[in-house]
C-alpha cells in the first residue's frame, strides 16, 4: 500500500472536490481517497501493483484538473500575482512619451517656425514607432480588452468595455491615417488618447490589487486549527501512540491532555477537563467536559485530560462544517457592482448610438464616406474616458491610504464603495462589544467578613490557577493591594474550583456545587463562592466587561441612521443585559455560528445592506454572508482574513469612522465621474461637428483630457482633508 499527497489545482467549489474524489476512487487499486478543498490537496492510499502516479494524474486531468505530487509542487509557487510593477511603469512611461510627442507634433504643425520639428514628428516613421509602442502597451494590458469586449457582447458593458472600444477604434483609425499616402494625414493620428487611459487604468488596478485579500489563506488557517496528529489508545494495553489524524477511524479511542488541541470530534469516556471553545462558539470561558460530553476538533484543553471515542473525523467535524459553510458562502457571493461600471452600462450604448447617428447624418448630407467615417471614429475615440477611468482608482487609492493612517485596513476598492451603502450594523457580543475576558463586577460578603479579607484569601488561592476567572479575581486583588499570602495543600479540581490552606484556614473557592453553597446563582454573570473554614463567606460576581467606547459607538451609529443588531451565542439573560446597557433594541441570543449567518440572510432579504462586526471564527460564516465583514483588531486570524475591513486598533472606535470614510470616498468618486461625464459629453458634441464653425482638433482633445484627468486626481487628493469624527 502506498500513501501519497497530491496538490490539485483548478478546484473552485465543493462540487469540484467531490468530482475529483469520485473519479479517483473509481480507479482500480484505490483504497482511500480524501480531497481537501481548502488546502487543495488530495490524500490517496493505493495498491502500487495496480495503480501508479501517472494513472492518477491522468484521471484527474480527464476530469478537468491538474494533479502534482506535493513535494514537487513546492517549487512552482510563482503565484499568479498579476503584472509586475516594472512593466506597468514602462507602460506608463510609453504612454506619457507618446502623448508628449503627439502634442508637440500638433503644435509644431500649427506653427510655421517649428517646421523642422514638425517634419520630424509628423514623419511616418515616427508615427509608426508610436503605433508599435502603443500596441505593446495594449497587448500587455490585453485583459482590459478581453474583459471589456466580453461584457460588451453580453450586452452588459462596463468600464472596461468603454475603454476597450474607444481605445481600439482610435488606434485602428490612427493606424489607418498614418498608413495613408497623403503626407499630412498623420495630423489626425491620436494614439495618445487610448494609450494614456490604458496605462493609467493599469496603474490604478495594480494599486487596488495590492490590498486584495486571498480567500484561500483564511480557510487554510481554519483547517490548521485541527492538529495533524492524535494519540490513539490501545484499549487492551491502555498505551497511547501518536499517529497521523487521517489514520483515525470512527470509534477509536484517543487521549487528549491539557495544552493540546483536540484533533477530532469525540465523546468523553473517561476523565475531566476544561476546554477553550472560543474559536468555535465565541464563549470566552472554558467549558467543563465530563463523561458523555462532546469535545470538538480545533478546541484546546486548558485543564485536565480525557479519553474520548472518535465520533467524527476530517470533513465531518463541526470545524469542517464551519469551513465548508464559509467557502460555499464565498463562492455564492455576488460581486459588488461598482459605480463606474453602472455608468458605463448606459454610457456605452449612448456613445455608440451618437457616433452612428452623426456618421450617418454627415454621410447623408455630404456624401463623403471618409469624412463620415472620420467623425464616427472621432466620437468613439473622444469618448475615451481617461478621467472617468481614473475617477474610481484615484479616490480608492487615497481612501485606502487614509484608512490605513487611521488604523483601518480595507481589503478592496469594492469594500470601500460598499461601506457607503451600509444601513445595518450587526455586532457579535463576546470580544467585539465586550472585552472577552471576565471582570469582577460585585463582591458580596456574608457574616460580617470584610471585603479585604475575603479578597485576600480568594486572590491567594486564585493566583495558583490560570483560569480566566482566577485571573480576574487576582486582578481585583492586585488593585486592592491585598498582597500574596502563602498557600499550602493546594488542589485544583478542573471545572469546579480550588482548595487550599491560607493563613492556616481552609479555603474553598468555586462554583455552587463545589462549595455546597446553600444559595442560588441568582446574580447575572458567573457566580463564584468562597468558603472559609466551612462557612460560605462571600460571593464574587464576574461579568464580561463591556468595552468603554461601545456605548458611544452605538450612539454614533444610531445617530447616523443605522440599524444596530446584537447577535450572540450566550444565554438570554447575559445578552439582554448587554443590549440594555448599550441601548440596542434588536438582539438575538443563544445562536450557533450557522444561525448567525441565517439571521443575516433574512435581514438581507429585506433589502438591507449589512456590515457584520466580529472577532472570532464562529463569526466567519456570518462575516461572509454579510455584505461587508469587519474584524475587530486582536481578533482571530481567521476573522481577520475573512473580513473585508479590519480595525487594527484595539476596540470598535473605528467602526463609525470607517463608514464615514466610505461615504466620503464614494462622494469623491461620484464628483469625479460627474465632472468626467460632463467633459466627455461636451467634447463628444463638439466632435460631432454640430456646432458650426468649430472644428475640434484632436490635439486639443489630448490636452483637455490631461487637464481633466489632473483635476480628477486633485479632487481625490482633497479627500485627505476630511474629518472622520
Amino acid at each position: 500500500m502506498k500513501e501519497e499527497i497530491y496538490e490539485i489545482s483548478g478546484m473552485h467549489c465543493a462540487a469540484c472536490a467531490a468530482s475529483v474524489e469520485k473519479v479517483v476512487s473509481k480507479l482500480e487499486g484505490t483504497e482511500l481517497v480524501q480531497v481537501n478543498l481548502m488546502t487543495a490537496k488530495m490524500f490517496i492510499r493505493y495498491d502500487e501493483k495496480l495503480l501508479d502516479g501517472e494513472k492518477i494524474k491522468a484521471k484527474v486531468k480527464k476530469a478537468g484538473f491538474e494533479a502534482r505530487l506535493y513535494n514537487d509542487s513546492k517549487k512552482r509557487q510563482k503565484s499568479e500575482r498579476g503584472p509586475r510593477l516594472s512593466v506597468i511603469i514602462v507602460c506608463a512611461v510609453i504612454a506619457v512619451v507618446i502623448t508628449v510627442l503627439s502634442i508637440l507634433s500638433k503644435i509644431a504643425a500649427a506653427n510655421p517656425d517649428l517646421s523642422r520639428m514638425d517634419s520630424l514628428l509628423s514623419d511616418r516613421k515616427t508615427c509608426i514607432a508610436e503605433a508599435i509602442l502603443c500596441l505593446a502597451v495594449y497587448i500587455f494590458n490585453y485583459r482590459i480588452f478581453l474583459d471589456g469586449y466580453k461584457s460588451l457582447l453580453k450586452l452588459h458593458p462596463d468600464m472596461n468595455s468603454l475603454i476597450a472600444l474607444s481605445a481600439s477604434v482610435s488606434y485602428l483609425y490612427s493606424l489607418y491615417t498614418v498608413l495613408q499616402p497623403v503626407s499630412d494625414a498623420a495630423m489626425s493620428a491620436m494614439f495618445e488618447s487610448g494609450v494614456m487611459v490604458v496605462a493609467m487604468i493599469s496603474v490604478g488596478k495594480y494599486i487596488e490589487q495590492r490590498c486584495k485579500r486571498r480567500t484561500g489563506e483564511a480557510l487554510e488557517k481554519l483547517t490548521a486549527l485541527a492538529p495533524e496528529t492524535a494519540f490513539r489508545v490501545d484499549p487492551k494495553t491502555d498505551s497511547a501512540t501518536e499517529i497521523p489524524v487521517e489514520k483515525l477511524l470512527l470509534d477509536d479511542i484517543i487521549f487528549v491532555r491539557a495544552g493540546q488541541r483536540v484533533p477530532v470530534d469525540g465523546v468523553v469516556i473517561r476523565g475531566t477537563a476544561c476546554a477553550d471553545e472560543s474559536m468555535l462558539t465565541g464563549e470566552s470561558l472554558p467549558v467543563d467536559k465530563h463523561i458523555c460530553d462532546i469535545i470538538s476538533a480545533g478546541t484546546i484543553l486548558t485543564d485536565g485530560s480525557v479519553y474520548a471515542t472518535v465520533k467524527a473525523i476530517g470533513r465531518d467535524t463541526k470545524l469542517s462544517g464551519i469551513v465548508r459553510y464559509v467557502e460555499e458562502a464565498q463562492t455564492k457571493k455576488a460581486p459588488i457592482a461598482r459605480i463606474a461600471d453602472k455608468i458605463s452600462l448606459f454610457f456605452v450604448p449612448a456613445v455608440i448610438a451618437i457616433a452612428l447617428i452623426s456618421g450617418t447624418l454627415v454621410f447623408l448630407t455630404s456624401e463623403n464616406a471618409g469624412l463620415s467615417f472620420g467623425i464616427f471614429c472621432n466620437i468613439l475615440s473622444v469618448a475615451c474616458p481617461c478621467a472617468m477611468g481614473l475617477a474610481t482608482p484615484t479616490a480608492i487609492m487615497v481612501g485606502t491610504g487614509m484608512a490605513a493612517q487611521n488604523g483601518i485596513l480595507i481589503r478592496s476598492g469594492e469594500a470601500l464603495e460598499e461601506l457607503s451603502r451600509i444601513d445595518t450594523v450587526v455586532f457579535d457580543k463576546t470580544g467585539t462589544l465586550t472585552l472577552g475576558s471576565p471582570k469582577v463586577e460585585k463582591l458580596e460578603c456574608f457574616y460580617l467578613n470584610s471585603p479585604y479579607d475575603i479578597l485576600k484569601y480568594a486572590a491567594a488561592l486564585e493566583a495558583m490557577s490560570t483560569h480566566p476567572l482566577a485571573v480576574a479575581i487576582c486582578e481585583m486583588g492586585k488593585q486592592k493591594n491585598v498582597g500574596k499570602s502563602e498557600v499550602t495543600d493546594f488542589e485544583n479540581v478542573p471545572g469546579k474550583g480550588l482548595r487550599g490552606r491560607v493563613d492556616g484556614r481552609e479555603v474553598l473557592i468555586g462554583n455552587i456545587e463545589f462549595t455546597e453553597a446553600p444559595m442560588y446563582d441568582d446574580e447575572l454573570g458567573t457566580n463564584v463562592y468562597i468558603k472559609i473554614d466551612g462557612k460560605i463567606s462571600g460571593r464574587f460576581v464576574l461579568t464580561d466587561e463591556i468595552r468603554p467606547e461601545a456605548s458611544k459607538v452605538i450612539e454614533k451609529l444610531k445617530a447616523d441612521g443605522k440599524r444596530v443588531v446584537l447577535l450572540s451565542g450566550d444565554a438570554e439573560r447575559t445578552v439582554r443585559a448587554v443590549a440594555q446597557k448599550l441601548n440596542i433594541d434588536e438582539y438575538h441570543s443563544g445562536i450557533a455560528p450557522k444561525d448567525k449567518a441565517e439571521i443575516l440572510a433574512a435581514i438581507k432579504k429585506e433589502g438591507r445592506k449589512i456590515l457584520m462586526v466580529g472577532d472570532g471564527i464562529n463569526d466567519a460564516p456570518a462575516l461572509t454572508v454579510a455584505d461587508l465583514g469587519m474584524a475587530v483588531g486582536g481578533g482571530t486570524d481567521i476573522a481577520i482574513d475573512s473580513a473585508d475591513v479590519v480595525m487594527l486598533r484595539e476596540g470598535i472606535d473605528d467602526c463609525p469612522r470607517a463608514l464615514k470614510l466610505g461615504r466620503f470616498t464614494l462622494r469623491k468618486i461620484k464628483q469625479s465621474l460627474a465632472w468626467a461625464f460632463a467633459y466627455n459629453t461636451v467634447t463628444i458634441i463638439l466632435a460631432c461637428g454640430i456646432v458650426p464653425g468649430v472644428v475640434f482638433p484632436s490635439w486639443l482633445g489630448g490636452i483637455l483630457m490631461s487637464m481633466s484627468s489632473i483635476l480628477v486626481v486633485l479632487n481625490a487628493l482633497s479627500l485627505k482633508k476630511s474629518n472622520l469624527d
Partner: protein, 63 residues
C-alpha cells in the same frame, strides 16, 4: 435532442469544465447551469454520459 440531468453541477466552473470536456470529445452540448442540464443530440448521448462520469458528475437521463 436529449436532456441529461446533472444535479451536482454547482457553480460556473463546473459548467466550464463540462463545456471544455464536451468540446474535447467533439460532442456538441448545451450546458445550462440554472436547470442543471446538458442537452445533446441523441446520437451523442452515450458518449456524453460517459464524459460526464469521467468529469466526476452523476448524470441522469431525463427524456
Amino acid at each position: 435532442m436529449k436532456t441529461i440531468k446533472v444535479p451536482d453541477m454547482k457553480c460556473i466552473h463546473c459548467k466550464e469544465r463540462i463545456e471544455k470536456g464536451m468540446a474535447a470529445e467533439n460532442i456538441k452540448a448545451e450546458v445550462n447551469l440554472d436547470d442543471k442540464t446538458v442537452k445533446v443530440e441523441e446520437s451523442a448521448l452515450k458518449a456524453a454520459i460517459e464524459e460526464l462520469e469521467d468529469l466526476g458528475f452523476t448524470p441522469e437521463v431525463a427524456d
